[in-house]
Each structure stands twice: as structure tokens, then as C-alpha cells.
């Protein structure tokens, strides 16, 4: 009985820590970050862009082949990258998590698979992933405890 209470207590503490992390003001961020991205068929280089919450991100976009698009999930960004021109778009990274960058201009066969990732950290960690991982472990513990106690 005591063991179970300890386990529940530990889990509850973890949740509190996580919630505090999520709601406390971010420890880092607020800088202006310039990110150079080269688009090609069918990828962005670099493919993963990692910034801190609160950063102002200046994307400098270029394409080496055809016209591509630059769309970020949930960030209201959708611009065209035209060959020979440099396109600049500024984003304030206010929501933490992982957001797909998608090509919004049909650019060839694999166009629907042309994605990048825009990852916004909070206090230096990917808080959304961490929270989901906690949640998943919680599901594992709950399901295990449930089948264990119910037997068959």
C-alpha cells in the first residue's frame, strides 16, 4: 500500500515539475536568430531548425532549382521561394513544439513529401515532446497496473 502511494506521489511530483516548466517564463529566448535555408527538390537544407521560445527568427530563403513554397504549420507563414531571388520572412517563435515546414508550391513528383521541421524549445528542452513522453509513460503505468490488478 505504501509502495503504491510512493509511486503515485513520485508521479504527481513529476507532473508538477512538468507543469511548472510549461507555465514558468522561459529561461532563454528573446534573441534575433537568422536562419539560412536552401530549398531543393524535395527537401530543405537544413531540414531541422531549432530555436528557443521567444526568439525572433529571420528565415533567409533561397532555392537552387525550381520555385518552392515555405509554409509553417500553425505559424501563419506561407511564402514563395523564386529561383534567383532571396526571400526573407520573420517569425516570432511564441508557441513551443515541433511544427512541420511544408512546400506550398507544386515542385515536382515528391512535392507532398517536401517537409522540414521547425522546433521551438522552452528553457532549452522540447517541452511538448517531454510532456507527451511523460504522458505515454503514464499510459504504460496505468495500463500495466490495470491489467495486473484485474488479472484476466
Amino acid at each position: 500500500m505504501l509502495k503504491r502511494q510512493l509511486l503515485a506521489g513520485a508521479w504527481f511530483t513529476l507532473l508538477i515539475v512538468f507543469a511548472a516548466l510549461f507555465y514558468a517564463p522561459s529561461a532563454s529566448g528573446g534573441e534575433v536568430v537568422t536562419v539560412h535555408i536552401t530549398a531543393r527538390q524535395f527537401a530543405y537544407e537544413p531540414g531541422r531548425v531549432v530555436v528557443n521560445q521567444g526568439d525572433t527568427v529571420v528565415f533567409v530563403l533561397e532555392t537552387v532549382d525550381v520555385t518552392h513554397g515555405f509554409y509553417i504549420d500553425g505559424y501563419d507563414v506561407d511564402v514563395r521561394i523564386i529561383p534567383g531571388e532571396t526571400q526573407t520572412v520573420t517569425v516570432v517563435a511564441d508557441t513551443p513544439g515541433k511544427f512541420k515546414i511544408r512546400c506550398s508550391e507544386t515542385c515536382g513528383a515528391l512535392h507532398p513529401f517536401m517537409v522540414g521541421e521547425f522546433i521551438v524549445l522552452r528553457s532549452g528542452v522540447n517541452i511538448a515532446f517531454l510532456g507527451a513522453a511523460f504522458g505515454l509513460v503514464g499510459v504504460v503505468l496505468a495500463a500495466t497496473a490495470y491489467v495486473w490488478r484485474r488479472g484476466d
Binding site: R40, Q41, F42, A43, Y44, E45, G47, R48, V64, D65, Y71, D73, G74, Y75, T95, G97, K98, F99, K100, I101, R102, S104, T106, A109, L110, H111, P112, F113, M114, V115, G116, E117, N126, A128, F129, A132, A133, G135, L136, V137, V139, V140, A142, A143, T144, Y146, V147, W148, G151, D152
Partner: protein, 486 residues
């Protein structure tokens, strides 16, 4: 009205609260519909029309994938409906309406709708080779097609050619072997439909097995004036799992005792069925689980190199150095190696750990390996559902446009109306995927313990054997979670 409400309550109690089963054939209209001889013909005909349009459009329509109905309907709409709705809720209902084997079946029966009373199959009726009486061909066929998926799901003409082949092959197989050998042993879709339908909330089962056993004429196998003997070459009176029942509903027409039920039941009911478990099905699980991860990695991930490799022999001018053939071959190696060797090996290690942990020596490791592999079904299915969510939410506008301009040649059916590409709640997708994954994981854990209990009924051995499996399932889920959110 009162009767309807009663049904609705039964429906939910059987589906969600796991209280008993509810026989859909009790509902008059469903009963009459499924017993009507024209039902399957009509369902196939609708899809035959759609597939024919898809094939024509693939050959003569726009080569731009997202403007051609062949790509948009098959690889966005059909795929989503199949894996997210039909398989989990209605078992192999797709096989009821799939038009691919229709021509062979009609030819062999020399009838489209009716059952002739003096009847002889137009077929050599050779027996299917017993060495192939499993789903290994489907395992390898699916893997082979999946290897070329980047080509298949982006080039309309490739989709059209593959569909055309899948229309022609069953006709020849029917003429040689008779009945649905194509569906049972060859169809690359059939293999995973069978496996995942074990999780489904619908089942076709005999009501009273003793009645079937004592029934000497076995009309569900031999057929009678009301219908054909089981085209799927199974004995409906002995059904315990969904796997190889294609829901053609011939047996509910032929059974003189109305001894078949179409039950709503709780999710995952067949995973605990002890009959039919074998290595071919175990490998199907490994292949499906691995491919879900690889598809998400290659198609929805940010790694351009993998996309170059997947794009079969295509060498992009600005891609990574190792492209074209040099890139595709390692890609094939990764696909086949991971799904056929690496995933099964890792799973084997954890199963070994389970056996050691249980402290019971009498249960053979091979049996344990096969039995535990069925715990992967809910997780693998949910991983595929998670993969399919963005397909629809991101690209739904393509479906509307394909309906307005089916072949992408600028027909402008509705005076140039065009829906711009607008993803729906894209920022929420990773969270939806994680929830779906968690549901799959919970079901997998539940069935893992029940499978352990089947092998170790005594004392705490089942619990000890089950814990390494939980570690494995959690490990796999964390990989998926990282793909979605990390």
C-alpha cells in the same frame, strides 16, 4: 422508435463498454440487404466505376500527382478511409466491395448476380500449393510494393499500371485455381487487412458451433440455390478469427438455419484466438510495424537524403552524392533488412527475456515468440492510423479539386472553381498522432498480459513474462513519439 433506441444502446454497450456482442443481422434492413443477391454486385459496381475512372485518368490525365484523381483518390481518400475507418470498425468490409477480383469471379460463375441451380465452375480448379497456404507471398508482395511506394504514390501512370495488373492477375488465378485464391494468398492489401481485422469491432461468426458440426450437408462450404460455397475457401461454421473472412456474405445466404451472426464486439477480440497462429502472421506484424515507422520517417520527415533514395533511380541535380541506383539499393536494404530481420531479432531478444523472467521452462520459445507477436497488432494499426491523419488533414483540398476536375486537364466542371491548398489544424496533428499512439499502446499492453496468461496460467509467471514485453512496447512507442513530436 423505441426499437431503434434499444439498438443504439446495445451498439454502444458492446463496442465501448465491452458488454457482450450485438448481432447486426437482428436489424431487419441490414439482414435483408446482406441477404440480397445483388448487394455485393452493386457494391463492387460502384467501386469498379471509380477504379476505371482512376485507371483512365492515370493514363490520359495530368501527370501532376496532386491534380490527378488517381493519386488523390487512391492514396489520400481510399487509404485514409481504409485504415482509419473501415479496418478498425468494420473488419474486411473493403473486401466486400473491392472490384479487383470481380471479373474473375463473374467469369467463373458465369453470372453477375444470380446463383445458377445447375452449376459448374468455369475453372481448372487445381488445388492451391500447400507450401503457399499462408501469407508469406502477401508479406513479400507488400514489402516489394512498399519499396517502390515513392514512385507509386506520386506518379499517376504507375498507380494506373499497378491497378490494371491487379485487375488482370485474379482472372488467370481464378481460371486455374478457382475462387478467391488471389485475395487470400496474393493480394498485397489482403495480408494486412487480415492481420489488422483481428483488432476490428466487427466479426462474422456462427451462433451455435455444435449445430454447424452436426450439420451434415455443410451448405456454407458447398453452396446451394441461395448462394455459393465460401469463395474464401474457409469453413464459416468454424470461424474464430476475422483474418481470412472477406465478408462476401454468401454463408448468411446459404445457411439453412440462419446460424450466422454479424457481431459488433469489443476491439481486439481475435488477438486471443488460439487457432491459426503462425510465423507468417508474426512476420506480417513486424513488417507492418516497421514500415509504419519507415514511412513516417521517409515521407513525413525532414531528411532529404532518404527522399532522394526512395525516389527510385532518380538522381536530383542538387541532392546528396549517393543517389540514383547507388542510393536506392541501400534504401531497399534498409526496408527489407529492418522489417524482415532487425525488428524480429529485437523482439526475439525481448521474448527470450520474457521466458527467462517467467522462470517456466516448459513453454517453447518459438511458441512464445509467435504468441507474443500478436500483441503488436493494436500498436501497429494505430501507428498506421497516426501516419494517415496528416494525409487527409493536410491534403484534403486536393480531393475537392480532383472532384471538380477529375483528370487534371482543366475541365473546370464548375467554372474554374479551385480550392487552394489549405492544411486543416496542422499544428494539432502531432498531438492527435500521440493520442492515437497511446491508445494503441494501451491496447497492446492489455493484450500482452492476456497472451502471457495464456502461456503461463500459474501464479505470477505471467506477470514476470509480461514486463519485458511492456518495455519493448514502450521502447517502440517512444520511437514513434519522437517521430511525431521530437
Amino acid at each position: 422508435m423505441a426499437a431503434t433506441r434499444w439498438h443504439v444502446r446495445d451498439f454502444f454497450s458492446s463496442l465501448i463498454l465491452h458488454r457482450g456482442k450485438f448481432d447486426l443481422l437482428q436489424i431487419g434492413i441490414i439482414n435483408r440487404l446482406l441477404k440480397h443477391r445483388a448487394f455485393q454486385y452493386a457494391a463492387m459496381m460502384v467501386n469498379l466505376f471509380v477504379f476505371w475512372v482512376i485507371i483512365l485518368s492515370g493514363f490520359f490525365g495530368s501527370p501532376v500527382g496532386n491534380r490527378n484523381i488517381s493519386i488523390v483518390f487512391v492514396w489520400i481518400l481510399w487509404w485514409f478511409a481504409l485504415i482509419v475507418l473501415m479496418v478498425p470498425l468494420l473488419s474486411r468490409i473493403w473486401c466486400t466491395m473491392c472490384p479487383l477480383p470481380a471479373f474473375g469471379e463473374w467469369l467463373e460463375r458465369r453470372a453477375l448476380v444470380k446463383k445458377r441451380s445447375a452449376f459448374k465452375y468455369l475453372s481448372l480448379r487445381k488445388p492451391w500449393p500447400s507450401k503457399l497456404n499462408n501469407i508469406w507471398l502477401q508479406n513479400l508482395g507488400f514489402l516489394a510494393i512498399a519499396t517502390f511506394s515513392a514512385l507509386l504514390v506520386t506518379r499517376p501512370v504507375v498507380t494506373a499500371i499497378v491497378l490494371l495488373i491487379l485487375f488482370v492477375v485474379p482472372v488467370f488465378l481464378v481460371l486455374i485455381y478457382s475462387r478467391r485464391v488471389f485475395c487470400r494468398f496474393i493480394c498485397p492489401v489482403g495480408g494486412f487487412l487480415g492481420l489488422f481485422s483481428m483488432f476490428s469491432a466487427l466479426e462474422l461468426r456462427p451462433k451455435d458451433k455444435t449445430l454447424c458440426r452436426n450439420h451434415m450437408t455443410k451448405e456454407c462450404v458447398r453452396g446451394n440455390d441461395n448462394g455459393y460455397g465460401c469463395p474464401w475457401i474457409i469453413y464459416p461454421g468454424g470461424l474464430e478469427r476475422n483474418n481470412y473472412c472477406g465478408l462476401c456474405f454468401e454463408c448468411i445466404k446459404t445457411c439453412p438455419y440462419n446460424n450466422l451472426a454479424l457481431n459488433l464486439r469489443s476491439f481486439g477480440g481475435d488477438i486471443l484466438a488460439k487457432t491459426g497462429r503462425a510465423l507468417d502472421e508474426a512476420w506480417k506484424s513486424f513488417i507492418m510495424l516497421t514500415l509504419a515507422g519507415l514511412y513516417i520517417l521517409v515521407m513525413q520527415g525532414p531528411w532529404g537524403v532518404l527522399k532522394d533514395w526512395s525516389n527510385v533511380f532518380w538522381a536530383p541535380p542538387y541532392g546528396w552524392a549517393l543517389t540514383g541506383v547507388g542510393g536506392f539499393l541501400p534504401y531497399v536494404g534498409i526496408f527489407w533488412g529492418l522489417s524482415l530481420a532487425v525488428t524480429p531479432s529485437v523482439f526475439f531478444l525481448f521474448t527470450g527475456a520474457s521466458k527467462l523472467a517467467s522462470g517456466v521452462r516448459s513453454v517453447p520459445l518459438k511458441k512464445l515468440f509467435i504468441d507474443f507477436s500478436y500483441e503488436l497488432i493494436p500498436l501497429a494499426l494505430m501507428a498506421w492510423i497516426a501516419f494517415s491523419i496528416p494525409l487527409l488533414l493536410v491534403n484534403w483540398s486536393y480531393i475537392v479539386n480532383a472532384l471538380l476536375d477529375p483528370v487534371g486537364l482543366g475541365w473546370n466542371v464548375f467554372s474554374g472553381l479551385y480550392v487552394p491548398w489549405t492544411p486543416l489544424i496542422p499544428a494539432v496533428i502531432p498531438y492527435l498522432q500521440s493520442i492515437v499512439l497511446a491508445v494503441g499502446l494501451a491496447y497492446s499492453i492489455k493484450y500482452s498480459y492476456r497472451l502471457a496468461k495464456q502461456n503461463f496460467p500459474e501464479g505470477k509467471a505471467a506477470l514476470k513474462a509480461f514486463l519485458p514485453q511492456v518495455v519493448f512496447l514502450t521502447f517502440v512507442s517512444m520511437i514513434f513519439l519522437w517521430l511525431f513530436m521530437g
